[in-house]
């Protein structure tokens, strides 16, 4: 469950707030698509939920914990356990193999053998069993994004944030990713996905549209 109360976000470099007076309730297991033009605040919205912004006013309540009231350290720890993000640019580390990239989020925290077994399961789930020892530069864009999804899921988060996950993919790969997202959603994960792609957006149960003027007026309502 995600509950946002009176959220205002202002960047020091901007005169106007990027998000203003947002109140929102997203139930556990929902798939919410965020649509809107560039600069309308989609990524900022995701950052609010992933606790990466220090300039957030209001209450960001995730599973009954207001992460905005937590110290940076505790917030980081909370998010690590409950929220994962997938990016448009995949952001895989080139020096690590597929398996290692997927294991990476848990390496500082857990036993390697346990992570490895979990990572192999995820590789199977994303259909890259034959790519376990390959490196990112040896994969296609779609495969890289699937690795990024597997990496996001290794921590078993209840909330998956996706920032334009198909933005760099062709339609074929996009469809594979959408299928993967559907599988993930079926497992009860909350998915919040920012996209420009109408087809992708429509996969969501709810679509949250960001308009620049709405933001300025503070009238973003679910």
């Amino acid at each position: 469950m995600i509950l946002l109360k009176n959220i205002n976000v202002t960047y020091p470099s901007l005169e106007k707030p990027i998000l203003k007076n947002i109140n929102l309730h997203i139930k556990t297991g929902e798939w919410v698509s965020l649509v809107g033009p560039s600069g309308s605040g989609k990524t900022s919205f995701l950052k609010v939920i992933s606790g990466k912004l220090d300039t957030v006013e209001g209450n960001v309540i995730i599973h009954e914990t207001d992460i905005n009231g937590l110290s940076a350290h505790k917030r980081h720890e909370f998010i690590r356990r409950h929220v994962s993000t997938v990016y448009q640019q995949f952001r895989l580390l080139p020096q690590f193999s597929v398996l290692e990239n997927i294991m990476l989020p848990l390496i500082p925290h857990e036993n390697k053998k346990r992570i490895q077994s979990r990572a192999r399961e995820l590789i199977d789930e994303v259909g890259l069993t034959h790519r376990v020892t390959h490196f990112p530069h040896q994969l296609s864009g779609g495969e890289q994004q699937r690795v990024a999804f597997a990496r996001a899921l290794i921590t078993d988060p209840s909330i998956l944030l996706c920032d334009e996950p198909t933005g760099n993919l062709d339609t074929n790969n996009r469809d594979i990713i959408l299928e993967l997202l559907t599988q993930i959603h079926k497992k009860g994960k909350t998915i919040i996905l920012a996209t420009h792609d109408e087809i992708v957006a429509k996969k969501g149960k709810n679509i949250l549209t960001f308009h620049e003027e709405d933001v300025h007026k503070g009238e973003v309502v679910l």
């Binding site: 992933s50 990466k52 350290h73 980081h76 720890e77 998010i79 690590r80 994962s84 993000t85 990016y87 952001r91 580390l93 080139p94 020096q95 690590f96 290692e100 990476l104 989020p105 848990l106 390496i107 500082p108 925290h109 390697k112 490196f135 530069h137 040896q138 990496r151 996001a152 921590t155």
Partner: protein, 727 residues
Amino acid sequence: MSSVEIAAPIASLGYFTGENKTFTLAYPHTSSYIETEFNTTDGVNEYTIRDEGGYFYVLEQEGYLEGFDFYKEPGHGYIGEGMKPEFGIPLTYHLTVGVDQEEEEKLTGIDLSALKNPIPAQLEWSYSQYGAKRNIPIIYLSDSFVSLRAETSLSELDWGSEQTIQLKEELDLQDNEAFFFSEKYETLGDRLSKIERLNTEGIKIFLSDQIKPFYYEPFSYNYDGTFSGEENYSFGISETPIFYRTKPIDYTIRKDQTLEVKQIGQDSGVPVYREIEKQGVSVREKREDIPFLLYPVGTFTTKSHQESLAASPLGIYQQAPTTKLDDGTTLHETITPGSFISSPAHGIVSLEDAAYIKGDAPIDAIRLRVDGINSYNEEAIRKINDVILDISEIGGFDIVVVAGASPSPVIMDVEGVGEVEQSWTSLGAAATISEGWNTTNLLISSVFLMISIVYIVNHAMFRKYTKKNETKLLSDIGWKVRHIKQFHLIENYLLIIFSGILGGLILFILYLFNLVSSITLVIYLIIVLLTFLIPFLIIVLVKNKLRSTNRFNGVKFKKVWLKNVLFYKKLIILCFLQLIFVTFLFNFVPANLFVTNQSTGDTNLGVFINDLILILILVILVATLYIATTTIIDSISSFLFIRKEEILTLRDIGWRVKDIHNTFMKESIAWIIPSFIIGMAISIIISSTVLTFTVELVFLSICITLLLSIGSMILVYNLIKRTLKKI
């Protein structure tokens, strides 16, 4: 041999006695008992000289000569009517050498012209009766030190003029007859010893300033600490044909390299530490066939030549003090031969006279000065070697090169005295230092040049990688690759020109002050021109591909940090190399300094030269430290900057800053510490080859590397922490 400027022979003759002589005390105010004994000291212990001194009764007698008559202990020298209290001074012994006056003067600069003075006619006439076969003029060291002190006790006697007259009556003497005319004179001592002594005063009379080797100027002590000339005295040169040859001290070398000196006997109550052999005859013992008599004809001094004689061959004029190790007390030779302290020459005779005294093969050494040597350099070494070759061809000589010789402190444990430090003349310190530093300087300069080149290459490489985004941007806005490269080249060249001008300016100022030679400016110009090549080669020729992913495939390391090190090896390798060079320098230079100091630093010249070089070494070490610090700061900062995206990703996928920090620390340790260890190992291997392998050297290297490692880790820790905060 035309290349020999001076050839100064020397003949060591041994220890000769000074003259027989007395010293006189002024008359006291009342009847008195005066007893005197003589002491000599080595600076630590005082030794009473046996069989010298004696006692003297001065008895008031109104109207008799100076108002006193006397009784002198029998067997203690001459007695004469009206004599003041007078005691025979113990014989003193002085090292004497024979030299060729002109050559010696040229070699040392010491004025020995007094050797040409004629023998005083009066003195010669006085001793003509002995018919000595040769009258030998001798000059003596005017600033010599003779360790002699008189300990006099002066007791006032309960005795008046009437009692003196009464005693003379008892001895059947007239009032105007001296006591020594009495037949009972020899037994008079017992009678006088019964006189009550009212009070006794102890007087220490330092005779060092009054006594000169081979020359006597009569003096009298005035009880108030002053001396005055004296007309009543005894003097004779009859003992001058006696001399002592001394053998070298039989040192025992201990494990700690100190020397042990055992006392082997006594001479007149004074310890003797080396064998002495009496030579010649006493005129008193043998009235005929006197081989020679020494006649003092003048003085010489070495005081003003001590600095220039720092490297004085054979140390015959050396007056460097011997000191007690624990409290620094200055020690000196006693008046007898056989002291453990090597005495400087107190007396000089002509080489001809020395040959007469010594007989066959009188010359112990010939000291040569090679022509045209103004400084100790390669040319000087060549000239000296040429002369050595020439002399070798003549044959029959032991050749010792003393160029660069200087006094070197040696620790000795002397029986009855304790541990002392004595200066010995060591040979060839300058050669050792010069050879050592020539090799070292070449090595240091080469390594430093390599460090500088690697530094510039490394810096340029990092600049190239960190400007990747800028390059991409320029490319995106339509710049051709050629234009981008030109742009970056100009940027780099501007930096080189600016730093080149600045460096050149500093060098030029140093040149104006004669601190660097003109060749340095030329070399600098060449280096600056060569530096222009580096950015060209890197920007134009080196591909922009930082990550060697192809080769990386299949490499399986379980540790994240180890994978990272391998992945970024292209970036790390230059820093790694640079730190190896830096560590090598940091280990090798102090190790070299340490070893050179050990082998040459115990000489004054060595200390002087090492001190001079130390400044250069400090400059090199500071510059190396600067390069090491800059290398680490540059590489770590650039490394973090290049990997900014990676850091952000790691944070976004749940890594704490602490986790990232730890990983980067491990990565840094993984290449910095091995580079230090390799640098240290190379240094130890080269030091052991070029210098000498010692455990201390290895220990020193380990300590330096440990310090370097700790310092670097502190630097890296803070650098990563600060940079991660910014990211």
